[in-house]
């Protein structure tokens, strides 16, 4: 059976993460490192140590913004941003879920909106997210203004061949 490190490397499908020599450039450039319980380079070490549960249960993997500064600056071309994607996907697939629950709920509301119309209906997507997250009241005062300015449409045009979009979700077994 593959260990955690092998599993992660296979899914990254690029440079093996054990090439990391902990220069900490990824962490130095990360805009949210100060909010993470484990810095990006520490996550690399923890994967090598096989600390699967700790990592998949961490908020770190969900706080990563995918700004890709880490991969841009890594002297060993380790794709840390892709590594974070892989870890999030492993957390979802293994049923661990997301420590930062609202971030995943936002993604779910977003994908549900694509499934419904082929394109994002920002108004409906936001309502859906608010119901899923229970965060009902933040930003509500902003909505009427945006609606009046024509920034939130009730019925924006949809993709006509919606079936082709729905098929993609089915065939990739997406949430």
């Amino acid at each position: 059976m593959e260990n955690f490190l092998e599993e992660v490397n296979k899914k990254i499908n690029g440079v093996p993460i054990q090439r990391c020599y902990h220069c900490r450039k990824c962490t130095a450039g990360c805009p949210v490192a100060s909010h993470m319980e484990y810095n990006p380079n520490k996550v690399v070490k923890m994967i090598q140590n096989g600390q699967r549960d700790k990592i998949l249960n961490s908020s770190t993997i969900w706080l990563c913004l995918s700004c890709e500064t880490c991969i841009t600056r890594c002297p060993n071309q380790i794709d840390i941003a892709r590594m974070m994607d892989v870890l999030r996907q492993m957390a979802i697939e293994s049923g661990v879920g997301a420590r930062e629950a609202n971030i995943l709920k936002f993604h779910e509301a977003f994908l549900a909106s694509i499934k419904r119309g082929g394109r994002i209906n920002e108004m409906m997507m936001t309502v859906d997210y608010k119901l899923k997250s229970g965060d009902l009241f933040s930003d509500v005062l902003m909505a009427p203004g945006m609606f009046l300015k024509g920034k939130l449409a009730l019925l924006p045009p949809r993709t006509k061949d919606l079936k082709s979009v729905k098929n993609i979700f089915e065939k990739t077994k997406s949430i």
Partner: protein, 282 residues
């Protein structure tokens, strides 16, 4: 020149100022746009965060649709641009993945067209000298900082954007329309856009840091090419830190004296009109 045009979801909603001004500017510069037929969402952050194959397939569906026009595709939204370039990169590098994704979308991906952002097209195809000649209202008194953000630039081997750690194309474009562009060190720092709704407190700090740095550089506005950055920076900074944020194409439209160029300023969350009036630009 003629190109395909992929607006993406944001440009039909919160980013409509970008769509309107980009179309006006393209027309004025002789760039003919043909919208990609029956396009769908690129998948954005939500897809790549949760399912790799889904993220590639949603973008690939649109790339295949764009290939039918047999012209390069202009993608103004930095987020869509990044997802398309990522899909292209992976589909060209990995034959197995390409076969799998073609099965998912039920169509062949040729990889025959270039995915281009409008900054690159304007700078490299039109050129700033040709642009400067068309200016009827130089933006005197406007002191922008150019903010490129993440998604146009990174990862560099995927995005292929010139000078990714210290980009200059948008600075040069704004300079050629008469703005006094300020230099600063935060051109490529992340604004936190993807967590604007789900992790607002962190994002407010990130926006405040950028606005503070822009003010320190002597800027009176910030200019972007990304609807996520726009929505985020227009909405999230704390009130003392706010300043006008523009799409580069809105300022081009204003400087070129195009019809409707003043309309898009009315729909910003933080009203940029007082600044523009004060500078007698509107």
């Amino acid at each position: 020149m003629k190109v395909s045009y992929y607006p993406g979801c944001s440009l039909h909603a919160t980013g409509k100022e970008y769509d309107q001004s980009m179309k006006a500017v393209s027309h004025a510069l002789g760039i003919e746009l043909k919208e990609v037929d029956d396009w769908s969402c690129c998948g954005a952050s939500a897809a790549h965060n949760t399912n790799f194959d889904l993220s590639i397939a949603l973008s690939a569906r649109n790339l295949v649709a764009a290939e039918k026009n047999a012209m390069d595709v202009m993608v103004p939204c930095a987020a869509c641009y990044n997802r398309f370039k990522t899909a292209e990169h992976n589909l060209k590098a990995d034959k197995e993945l390409k076969a799998k994704i073609e099965g998912v979308i039920g169509a062949k991906y040729q990889g025959s067209i270039a995915i281009r952002n409008p900054i690159d097209i304007i700078y490299n195809e039109i050129g700033i000298d040709a642009l400067a000649v068309k200016v009827v209202k130089p933006l005197a008194g406007l002191k922008p900082v150019s903010y490129y953000g993440c998604l146009l630039l990174r990862p560099p081997e995927v995005c292929e954007f010139e000078n990714y750690e210290n980009p200059f194309m948008m600075d040069k474009i704004l300079g050629s329309i008469g703005a006094d562009v300020k230099n600063w060190s935060y051109k490529t720092d992340c604004c936190g856009g993807s967590m604007s709704i789900s992790k607002t407190a962190i994002v407010i700090d990130m926006c405040d840091k950028l606005m503070g740095a822009a003010k320190e550089a002597g800027a009176n506005c910030l200019v972007t090419a990304c609807p996520m950055c726009m929505a985020n920076l227009d909405m999230r900074p704390s009130s003392a830190m706010k300043m006008p944020v523009f799409y580069f194409s809105e300022l081009m439209s204003l400087a070129l004296g195009l019809d409707g160029s003043k309309e898009t300023f009315k729909t910003h969350i933080f009203d940029p009109q007082p600044l523009l009036r004060q500078l007698q630009l509107i």
